[in-house]
Symmetry: D2
């Protein structure tokens, strides 16, 4: 793995490194950690990389790694830069034969995403988008229960993503995250909608298996002086007649990161909260509520494959990244026809999933460029709807 971005003070770089290493399948071998060469060098040292594998730019990294012999050079590029810097290294990596793992969003806008999709399809390389929240075991379980008809036909979906960290003009204090995330140039045209609204959209479509057909979005900038939306309320209409609500906020004062979803069907309902990720609630008008827990009474192969500990040993955020990296590693090996190694891929560290030795892309799934493009089209649709005064707008294609 070669990393683009992720210098010492970046939050998401460390998350990716920890996630990639957790299952022992992936090794960091090189990086271009910052556009500031000094920072890049310091990060490389802190990470015990040899000096000659720490690069001053992603271009240099891709070019020089490509020149190394196979087996020695990096196998893929991981991109953990701010949004505007996702597309260029992804494109270059793919063009030079490297698989790509990219933090979300895939690109700065839908045009770039479309182009990236074409490149991925043309090169046949693997492109992974770390839409991590769908990698929680109980999200896999939720998807499975819905798919197998457990709650009947879907009627209503409520998905929320409230945060409170931008309740005042944090960007004015120079806080790094707030600074670039509220800047249209580096973040893209959507603020909260791009950062967290897309997670909500992705989660809703992932668990239900339904596509949003049209939506209506009312975006607001509540904090004076801010340049991008910090709050969004939306109504959704899904293919097949289900309806929904999606709202995200960065000004929900005192909310941490409370992504949650409720889905009601003709035979029951399911509820999940990211802050209590190992619990899934099955609601039922007649039978009452049942608590589904990782390692206890979850039934799906997907939940089993994404659970590393026995019941009662909390798993969290870092494991979602680990699962995406692990699934990517398994897909890579499967592609190499190295079926024998697949058992080892999980068996080495996770006794829970040791049984599932055969690679099953439905069980060991991960988000791709399709999710990336979908997210960008969601943003386009939302911005158009809100820009027109919050009117119903067909989901862009």
């Amino acid at each position: 793995m070669g990393m683009v971005g992720g210098s010492l003070e970046a939050f998401i770089g460390a998350v990716h490194r920890r996630g990639a290493m957790l299952d022992g399948e992936i090794e960091l071998v090189c990086g271009a950690f910052s556009s500031d060469p000094g920072k890049s060098k310091a990060t490389g040292e802190a990470l015990y990389l040899p000096a000659d594998r720490v690069y001053g730019s992603y271009e240099a990294m891709i070019e020089r790694e490509k020149a190394l012999p196979e087996g020695q050079r990096m196998d893929f590029v991981t991109i953990v830069t701010p949004n505007f810097m996702h597309f260029p290294p992804a494109r270059m990596a793919l063009r030079n034969g490297f698989h790509v793992v990219s933090d979300k969003p895939a690109t700065l806008n839908s045009e770039e995403a479309r182009e990236l999709k074409k490149i991925v399809e043309k090169t046949g390389l693997i492109y992974v988008l770390t839409h991590n929240y769908t990698a929680y075991p109980m999200v896999k379980e939720m998807k499975y229960l819905i798919k197998t008809g457990d709650i009947g036909d879907i009627r209503k979906v409520i998905v929320e993503y409230p945060q409170g960290w931008l309740f005042d003009l944090l960007e004015a204090t120079g806080q790094k995250q707030a600074d670039w995330r509220t800047d249209p140039v580096r973040n893209g045209a959507a603020g909260g909608v791009g950062d967290i609204g897309t997670h909500a959209e992705n989660l809703a479509e992932y668990v239900t298996g339904l596509k949003i057909k049209e939506l209506l979005a009312d975006l607001t900038i509540f904090v004076p002086g801010r340049r991008l939306d910090d709050d969004a309320n939306m109504l959704l209409r899904f293919e097949g007649g289900a309806k929904g609500i999606l709202h995200d906020s960065q000004i929900a004062h005192g909310e941490e990161n409370d992504l949650n979803i409720r889905v009601y069907g003709s035979k029951g309902g399911l509820k999940w909260r990211q802050l209590d990720p190992n619990t899934l609630v099955r609601t039922d008008q007649v039978k009452g509520q049942t608590i589904i827990r990782t390692g206890v009474n979850a039934k799906s192969p997907g939940a089993a494959a994404h659970t590393r500990q026995p019941a009662g040993h909390p798993e969290g955020y870092v494991e979602t990244f680990a699962s995406i990296y692990r699934n990517f590693a398994m897909a890579l090996r499967a592609r190499m026809n190295d079926k024998a190694a697949l058992g080892a891929a999980t068996g080495g560290l996770g006794q829970e999933n040791a049984s599932g030795t055969a690679y099953d892309s439905e069980v060991y799934d991960f988000p791709t460029i399709d999710d990336g493009l979908r997210g960008m089209l969601f943003i386009d649709t939302v911005l158009e709807s809100s820009g027109n005064g919050a009117v119903w707008t067909k989901f862009k294609q």
Copy 2:
């Protein structure tokens, strides 16, 4: 108190009787419990009423009670019939000099509500609408904290009222509640919106002190064969710039009666759930969450006045009706200039509120015909918005 409706098998009649009696201030002296004379008689007997105070119709009750000497006749009429039968007895009672307590909604439509408001204003009598959820102590606390600036300027309001009891065509089984509540003639033109959406609207405006300026509503009938909306998703815009979401559902499979509200302001947030009514959560990005509880750390006079037990002794639904009846009784006495009796009014049963001997209409408030009319206009606005394809619609005046 003379009761219209509320025969033995009715749910809401018993709630009103228990609520009225809980504080020992009000006595049931007569009733017209059913349009079926046999049922009315049986109910009267079960309630130990003398036979001559059990009437076959509300008209008979009002006429004959009016003829009784003061001190012996009923002081006011309580109306607990299905919706279409709220307006006629209310009008007749007021015209004959009786105060009125009415279950919600006030009337079947906004025209009737307007007329009722005129009569109330003309007669100067007291009209109480039992919008009971705002009588919970922690709702009083929430209103107080918002009013006194504790969470700053209101930005976002999320109010939800999910139920699941109509997840299938219950009305086809002859279940009484489902039968009339899904019948446009007896229930009014709005289904779930009229029954529970109005509670959500009332709660949101009550706690924030803000009026909804315009809204957009997407109503659905999910259960084939049903005649009225069983699900509603709405976006709200309040006076002053706050925005919001309101959704109600009768098909949220497995949800009991989960009315809840979250309000986020520039300085903090507040969250309350009817299913855990003695708890109010104060959110804060810096200080974290504080749990406010009845009898522990609630600060408002309103919470104190509506709490009957010491901390840790759960209070619930019946107390909300009791509080409305008690507040009405106090207002009645205050009007009679019987100030001396006011202490007794609460002192007899509630040590908690014994201190607040002086009647303060802000503390001992109750919903009136204004709330009733507001609710009917809300329904009109929602139906117009949804009927036009879910478009933004100004709140009707």
Copy 3:
């Protein structure tokens, strides 16, 4: 109903009055509310009693009520005085032919309790002890599930009653409750153990149907200057081999009134908390946790008979008193052979229990002098154990 004690400022008097009236079966007709005649008079007035039914002492009340013609005089006496004043009026009332409802504990010590039991047995009158916590619907459900074998053989019982209100020397401030409850003369020889430990003991034996065989108690006075125990830790051994833990505290800083119980058997477990009384959790190693709720998926006749509202309408503390009074009223009527009235007894107010028209003393049960004596023997056993240095001690007989 004639009340002994319960003047305006007393907490428990109002609870009893509200509970007695809630179902419309019982009327307060007279009282001796205080040993201070002025207070008694003021209370009577506040409660709208005629002056000649307000007495200066319980002796006067019993004597003069007895002299009134049947149908006019009180049917029973309710005793809501501090502990030392429970026994004398109970004894006198029974000796004069009045049934008795008494707040707990039954008496000041086990000798009095034994004597009271003899009088009750001799007179054949009904004696009701308001050990109210066992009247919650979910406690009835828990008892039923255990009795019908749902969780198999009982192995472990954990019952807790933490409060924090006496974390400092509140009695030194003159606070009335703290004053008499920490006074050995008026409260009895056990402090927290007598006040709340007995509730825990009663609850544990009630739900499991098992008797404590022996126990070991470590009592402490944590607050300097206090005269009675404010904390107790106990180990329990039940008949049949189950083991348990009971602890109560009045110095658990910040705990409201958190009575709770967990019972684990060979086939599952059950958990209940008084602060969330309408919920019962069924634990299972294989099936996971199921949430049992009043009005949703509770199965027992007892839960149904003690539930007044449909699902999702919280019921609480006052309803537990109401249920005991209602059950007592039904027993009284059953005794009068007035079977016809029994349906009315519940049908008048509670649609939920209207079905159960026939009186069933297992379903409509209430605590009696046996529970009262058991509680006093529990206290004796605990004090002996702790006094001997916290050693195993057989439950007194």
Copy 4:
């Protein structure tokens, strides 16, 4: 790191490997993963170790690694075998100059523990015991708040560790964990007490800073045919006068792994549950409850140093092992006087703790052989107490 035990199917081996690798400070370089050479080899392959660093026995590993040049040989030994096999490799490793990280318990009995302590002291090497639960950030916070007087003088401690996995004779089915954990020879003389009771004891003494002075334990074997205790109820007396309850169970049907602790002092209380590890509840009789959360309002350097993600990104079990390994790595470097590297040690992966560049053994603490010996003495004390009929017994020295 060289690992003893931890073949593919072992639960705890994978936990240690993931924990050790999470922060990028430690590398697995060799192992003796099983007494079965085939299993050891297969594990080594799955973990991508060169064949010549996979050994057939710990003796071979220690001897041959010792012979390797410094910089190439392992730095320390990690022991993740069943209990009876903790002491021999630990002793041999220390005697040969290797630091040791050992899964708990340190040894099979207190004699071995005493001997190990002597060896550790004599060699001056670092010995780490992975009593992992005290490495949660909110446990650090709890310890800090208690130490700095936030809740005043400690009065009452309740610590619980209920599990349900041994509710029936699982060991009879050949399940590996159940098999050796219920076998006195391989597990030691205490069953549940040794496995989980020691965690409870360790947690209670860790957060309070108080030592248990004497205790009384009532142990039970509930499942017929079992050879070791599967349930324990204890009363505790601490130095300085605090009292407590400790209970553990493996037959609490339906409980996952619910380690939890409550501590009440003269000025407030604190509550923590392992199943919701990022939350700490501060109780207060006057101010009510405050929710303390990682990354939000936790105040202690220890919580900060053990938190890897921003607020709202759940962290769990694997991070506790990671923290112990990371702290050990930092201590190792500090000892090497490699102060410069210390910042890097945490800065590389965790932006949260990047501020704390200087090594502070109070902040970056870990359990040692003292905790190990204490745990064995706890077991001795418990067994003696219970063996004598559950009597008060001084904590062994």
